[in-house]
Symmetry: C2
Subunit: 271 residues, 2 copies
């Protein structure tokens, strides 16, 4: 059997945390990652614009890079453009939000969860809807300082610990005001897994931290490998593309992937 080609798409390079989780699940697959860095961040743009950008990116991965399966490693695109992507390509498409919500449901005993993400993801209420479909009540909070803190490299830094403490206190107060007892925190942004240790130190006793990237990778592996014989282990194959500014991608990407990202290839999708 042939090695499956899996396309992984993000507006930037944060989705490399999802690629990292995919590599653990499917070490024998070939991965093609596209960061639409020329047009990031998607978060400040309208649904119509995001849908067009995401569809073009998905078509590049399927039509030009022969991806047989697409992982949308971007919470904003998963929240706002999954339908548009599914219409644009003819291969299976998996976003990060439904697997994240399903993992939260599997984790939570109280059925009350907390979700943190970027402003655009929270404004879409996609996690709240997915949680509700899984029988959960969710309080949501946008945490716009966390991505810049990660990109500044302040991952293990007192300022970041204090920002996390403040955001969590506000979130817990909101849950309490709503009469909820959350026992699960969903990291709904691909940058946040780099702060997982900070969150685990800051949450109250008994609250579990769920990473959408890991939940998505596990579900992708199940879908991709169904009916395939397990393969001999070999070195992973990864090709990275970006639509602009490969320099920052190359500089920061390895932190997200925990591997060198190598040479990032520039691609022009117009716009």
């Amino acid at each position: 059997m042939t090695t499956p080609v899996i396309g992984v798409f993000d507006s930037g390079f944060g989705g490399l945390t999802v690629l990292k989780a995919l590599l653990k699940q499917m070490p024998g697959a070939r991965f093609v990652f596209l960061g639409d860095t020329a047009r990031l961040p998607y978060g400040s743009k309208s649904r119509r614009t995001i849908a067009r950008y995401a569809a073009e990116s998905a078509q590049f991965l399927v039509d030009q890079q022969e991806a047989e399966f697409l992982v949308i490693a971007c919470n904003t695109a998963s929240a706002l453009a999954l339908d548009a992507i599914e219409e644009a390509v003819s291969v299976p498409v998996l976003g990060v939000i439904l697997p994240g919500a399903a993992a939260a449901a599997a984790s939570s005993k109280t059925k009350d969860v907390m979700v943190i993400a970027t402003e655009a993801t929270i404004a879409s209420h996609a996690y709240a809807a997915a949680c509700q479909a899984n029988g959960l009540r969710a309080v949501e909070k946008a945490c716009p300082l966390l991505v810049p803190l990660v990109e500044e490299g302040w991952v293990d830094h007192p300022v970041t610990a204090e920002v996390v403490r403040i955001y969590l206190a506000e979130l817990l107060a909101e849950a309490q005001a709503a009469g909820q007892s959350p026992d699960t925190l969903v990291l709904g942004c691909t940058h946040y897994p780099l702060l997982r240790a900070v969150f685990e130190r800051s949450v109250p006793e008994g609250v579990r931290v769920i990473d959408s990237a890991e939940a998505t990778a596990a579900e992708a592996a199940q879908l991709v490998m169904a009916g395939r014989a397990s393969e001999a282990m070999h070195m992973p194959s990864i090709r990275c593309f970006a639509t602009d500014s490969v320099e920052k991608f190359e500089r920061l990407g390895s932190r997200f992937l925990s591997l060198p990202v190598g040479k990032v290839e520039l691609v022009d999708l117009g716009g």
Copy 2:
């Protein structure tokens, strides 16, 4: 005589701090502000892409809004696209970097200055070059956490004070290592005037804080009003356009302008 129409352009709404300074200098002028919010931030994009976006935005203000004078209220566009804008339109164009450097030269006795700005502006070294042309030595530092802190509304907040303290300490150490004695700090980003009080509390005794927005407004007023009779005072006239996401513009804009921005009109520049 007619009331002059002044076009003010930024990639987002941070340039409203420049508009605020312009209003003080020219209360009788008519202002048309364009925030290219669909395509922000310019900072992560290539010079070629920024030049095209900035030229299209400038043409909108001159050809469709009849601006007779353009203020580029965006440090990144001033650093990377001033030539492209001057080629694209036939009216006078003023960026924020040269007035900021000139004001620093007028302020500094030691002729050593510090410049803080976004990553893209610092990477362009446009301030360092403008400072050198004014007989100054400059140390520069990118401060990528400050824009998100301002947009989160944490203007008078202990976390912001601590981030400013850390950035300034790094900058002063760099100046010292270069054998310089800076007595002036240039705020090279249109978001930073909202943190002016924090900076003034944090800089060492004897260091003056210079705001490029104020320096630019003063120079614009001189250029625009030259040869015009001074006008009777009346209420300022401001029209604001954005290329996407008018909601965040309307919500945060009044903080930057210290006036309600009113209804922001959506305009499509393509791309």
